[in-house]
Structures are given as structure tokens and as C-alpha cells.
């Protein structure tokens, strides 16, 4: 297969794709880096080149930076915890033979196909609204005072909405992993005297390890950039301002492109640090 000739041809044919990818990635990145070293506020007509690290300094020292990093970690961690634990449990449940299995599985996957903006609006107006929401009715039915979810428990509410969206993804991947476990292994464990709980802990969970790392890795990449759910529910108020949202506010609300770009570059660096850690864990798990 891999003769000298075919390898050269392969490189040649790959070149355009690699070139386009590089341009797509590098040009925005380079422009962001360039803007981050400028004092660039278009509405005020300011576009001074080369202010050094002033933007970075202002971004990092502002009081909202650290709290936004904390919020981001809390949000991503919370969603990961809910989706992974819930996903494992749902996958085990869906693996049981039940009547109407096909339809149930499609229904479980459905939330993944709802657009983030739509699902956030549905949750905000139909469930979490303190006057007309379903939860409010439920609370009133039991004689309790309805909770104004988005102002009293804003971070938890957003975590809940996003978890609802990502749970199907985790469930789907974990379900295929559960199904690939050989039934003889479980029977052997049963004969060896393992209770249902021990079988889960010693056999099923280690078997799911690889799938769980994949779920965590992929979800983290997407969850670090949550935006729509925050935008349509709290607008970043009540301590729900993540790093992504802070960058958006600096660029579009404060109209300070230089400052926002500096924040964006910092977010890229932080995301890469997280990614390196995750990759090392995944690598360890995938090596086996």
C-alpha cells in the first residue's frame, strides 16, 4: 500500500485540506492576538496599536475575572457530574429488556436535537416561571411557595437545563458501552458470589471507564463555550457569568474589542490547560 509514490501522492492530495484548516484556524486566532495588544474601541473611534499587556492586565485584575473562572468550573463540573452519573444509571435502565424499547430509546435521545436557545426558553417560560411555570403549579399543589428558579437558584437552573440537553449524549455513548459487556462476565461474577452492587462496582463500572472518559472529554470541550443558555435566561446576572460570557460582555456590551480579545486569548489558554490534563487522563485510560 504505502509505496514511496503513493505516500507522496497522499501528501499532495491532503495539502489543500490542511491548508484550508490552517487558514480557518490561524487567521481568526492571529487577529484575536493582534487585537488583544491594541486599544481598540470602535464606537469611540479609538484604535491605537500596541499597548503591550495592558489589556491582559486589566482583564485579569478586574473583580469579575476570578469569579467568572469559578463560575465556569462550577457549571462545567456540575453538568459533567449530573450527565455522567445520570447517564450511567439511564444506560443501565435502558439496557433492560422492556416493552417498546425502540420508542423509549428515541424519546430519551430527543432532547439532544432541540436547539440550545429553544430548550433554554422552554425551561425558562414553561417550567421555571414563578407564576405560570409547571414547577410553580407543583409547588402550589403541595402548598409550598413557588421558587423563582432563575433569580434564587440561577446557577443550578442553568446547570439543570444544560444537563437535560447533554444527558442523552452521555446516555447514548454509555448505553453502547453497557451493551458491549459480555453477559458471561456478569454471570461469572454472579457465580463468584458478587452481589448486584459489587457487580456494578467491580465489573460494569471499570468496563465503562473508557466510555466515561470519552463523554467527559467531548462534553468539556463543548461545555466550556456555553453561551445561548446563559444569554436567554439570566443574561449573565446573579453569578452566572462564565468566562465565555464575560468575553462577550467586554466585546459587545462595553464595546472594547481589545479587552475582549485579551480575555478570549486567556480563555483559549485556560481551555488548553484543561484539555492537556484531560488528554493525559484519557491517554492513560485508553492505553489499557
Amino acid at each position: 500500500m504505502a509505496t514511496q509514490h503513493s505516500r507522496a501522492a497522499a501528501r499532495l492530495m491532503n495539502a489543500p485540506a490542511v491548508f484550508v484548516l490552517l487558514v480557518w484556524m490561524l487567521i481568526p486566532l492571529c487577529m484575536t492576538i493582534y487585537f488583544s495588544f491594541m486599544d481598540y474601541r470602535p464606537l469611540r473611534g479609538v484604535a491605537d496599536c500596541c499597548v503591550g499587556f495592558e489589556n491582559y492586565e486589566r482583564f485579569v485584575t478586574s473583580s469579575s475575572f476570578l469569579s467568572s473562572v469559578g463560575t465556569t468550573l462550577l457549571m462545567v463540573g456540575g453538568i459533567l457530574a449530573i450527565t455522567v452519573i445520570g447517564g450511567v444509571l439511564l444506560a443501565l435502565l435502558l439496557d433492560q429488556p422492556i416493552w417498546g424499547q425502540g420508542i423509549v430509546r428515541i424519546l430519551v435521545i430527543a432532547p439532544f436535537f432541540v436547539m440550545p436557545t429553544v430548550s433554554a426558553l422552554v425551561w425558562k417560560n414553561m417550567f421555571m416561571n414563578p407564576v405560570n411555570g409547571l414547577f410553580a403549579y407543583l409547588w402550589k399543589f403541595f402548598g409550598a411557595t413557588p421558587i423563582d428558579w432563575l433569580s434564587e437558584l440561577p446557577l443550578f437552573s442553568i446547570i439543570w437545563i444544560v444537563s437535560w440537553q447533554w444527558l442523552p449524549f452521555a446516555t447514548l455513548i454509555l448505553l453502547t458501552a453497557v451493551q458491549s459487556l459480555s453477559s458471561e462476565q456478569l454471570e461469572a461474577a454472579e457465580m463468584d458470589g458478587a452481589s448486584a452492587l459489587s457487580r456494578f462496582y467491580y465489573i460494569i463500572l471499570p468496563h465503562l471507564g473508557r466510555a466515561i472518559t470519552v463523554v467527559i472529554l467531548i462534553q468539556t470541550i463543548f461545555l466550556l463555550s456555553i453561551f445561548a443558555e446563559i444569554f436567554v435566561t439570566t443574561n449573565g446576572a446573579f453569578g452566572t457569568r462564565t468566562l465565555t460570557y464575560l468575553v462577550y460582555q467586554r466585546v459587545l456590551e462595553s464595546q472594547n474589542i481589545g479587552l475582549g480579545s485579551a480575555g478570549g486569548i486567556l480563555a483559549v489558554i485556560l481551555a488548553n490547560i484543561v484539555a492537556i490534563f484531560l488528554m493525559r487522563i484519557v491517554g492513560k485510560n485508553l492505553d489499557n
Binding site: M191, D192, G209, N288
Partner: protein
Amino acid sequence: MGRITLDKVAKSFGEVNVIPPLDLTIEDGEFVVFVGPSGCGKSTLLRLIAGLEDVSGGQIRIDKVDATHTPPAKRGLAMVFQSYALYPHMSVRKNIAFPMKMANVPQAEQDKRIDYAAKVLNLSDYLDRRPGQLSGGQRQRVAIGRAIVREPAAFLFDEPLSNLDAALRVNMRLEISELHNNLKTTMIYVTHDQVEAMTMADKIVVLQAGVIEQVGSPLELYQTPRNLFVAGFIGSPKMNFFKGADAAGHDAATIGVRPEHLTVSTTEGLWKGTVGVAEHLGSDTFLYVHPETADTVEDTITVRVDGEMALRHGDTVWLTPQDGKTHRFDGAGLRIG
């Protein structure tokens, strides 16, 4: 102790009756082989004994105690699966220790039993490896090791050698027989390979469609098969069957003659035929003879002759059954005499 009694045990999956009520007693220390063609219910029977399937009727007693509804772990039986069912994320040591860990055996006792099992099974050098780094035969031994350390009342083997290559299978067959001689524990072994059954068993149980056709020692089954099915199933190559006039001469509906009980001559004999395929194994030669006169059930008569005999495709031969080696069966396929 490991005396297992099946009393009218039956199993059906919905409408399908896999095992009609059957009785069987397995004595303590016996090596019993369940043998039969695929789908005859032999694995299901083993799983019923193990407790991995619920019986539809009847009673299973282990050492006189009713174990019909006892969960598998409490029956004191250890099972070796066809796929070995090792836990891939645990080292060999942890695999073998797993049943003891579940039973809360003290660590010192665990180590003692692991060392013993590893020594018996030649696994001492591999204790820290993962199952994925072992060969098929080694994995098989780990699975047996996991069973040994439980010190069970009986071992259950579910076609344990079918994933191994031919040479290794012969080796493992010997090792399992040797293990049985050393441990003297009851073993129940399921296989579809009648060679494994003949070589290992103290007692063979021949099953067909969930029904026990015959129970007996390997030689009993070989010498006095109870019916046509057992006669055809036990022995390799298969027994030759003759019907019509040939059988009527013996006052039977069908007669059977084993390939090794036919005398071959190039000059005279009872049945004349031409040699079709000749398989030369060195020690033996199997001839597949197309008969001209004999009224056979199948197209060819299989003959086992000495390896030195120089007969080839197309040669004309005469075949004569040896005295007293003819098996007679009546119209219902049951043995006469």
C-alpha cells in the same frame, strides 16, 4: 462433597420445551461429561445446575440439600465459561482472588490459595499480567484457577476447550484430567466433541433434544450403545449402519458395524465395493468404500485399516464384519441383545 441429584428437572422457554423432565445422579468425585449435538440442551442443563437459569419444574439437590431456588453464589459450585469470562481490567492475581474477596476470605488465606492454584496451573510467572496479555491456553488456566480457589463442591465446565486450537486442546484435556485426579472433586463437563467425552469422562451422559439417551462409562457406550443415536454419536469415525436384507439376516431392522470391526480383503468377502477416498493418517488409514451390493443407510462404508495397507482410490475391496462385533437394532432403533 459434591453429590448432585436432578429429580424430574424440566426447563421450557415460553412455549418451547427445551428439557422434558429428567432424572440424573452425579456421584461425589465423578467426572461426568454431558455430550450431544448442538442445541441438545446440554448447556442449558449445566446452567440449571449452576443456578444461572431457573428450572420450570423438578428439584436439584446438592449433597442432599434442596438447592432448586438457591442463588448461584450459594450453591458452592464453580463454573468455567466457554469465553473464559475473565475480568479484563484486573490482573491475573486479582482475577483469581475475586471470588475470595467477595466471600471476605482473610488476606493470608487468599495468598496461600492463589499461590497453590498458580503452582498447580503453571501461572506463577503471569500473576501480575492482564488477561489481554495471555495466550488462549493461559487464559483458560486462569479461569480454572479462579474456580479452584473457591474450593467448590463441584466444577462446571461449559465447552471450555472449543476456543483453543487442536494441539492446545489435547494438552488442556490432559491437564484437566490430571487436575481431576489430583483434586478428586466432582466435575461436570459439557462438550459436543465425543473425543473429549470418551477420553475424560468417568461417566458420559448422551443427550438429544433435552432427553437423556444413555448414561454410562465410555466403554459401555462404545460396546453396548442403547440405541441408534448413541451408536452413531459415540465412536470416531462413525458406525456404519445396514438395513434391508443385510439386517434381516441378523433378525434386526438395522445392524451397525464400527469401521474398526470390518475386515478388508482384496480377494473375497461379504460386501464388494470400490475405494472412494482414502485418508492416510500414518497410524491408521480410513477408507470410504462405495458398496455395490450392501444395503447401507449412507452412501459409503467407512473402514479403519492399518496405516501400512496400500489401498488407493479406485481399488476393488471386499468387506466382512468381524464375529460378534455386530450391533443389532429393532424397528424403533433400540438395541437387541
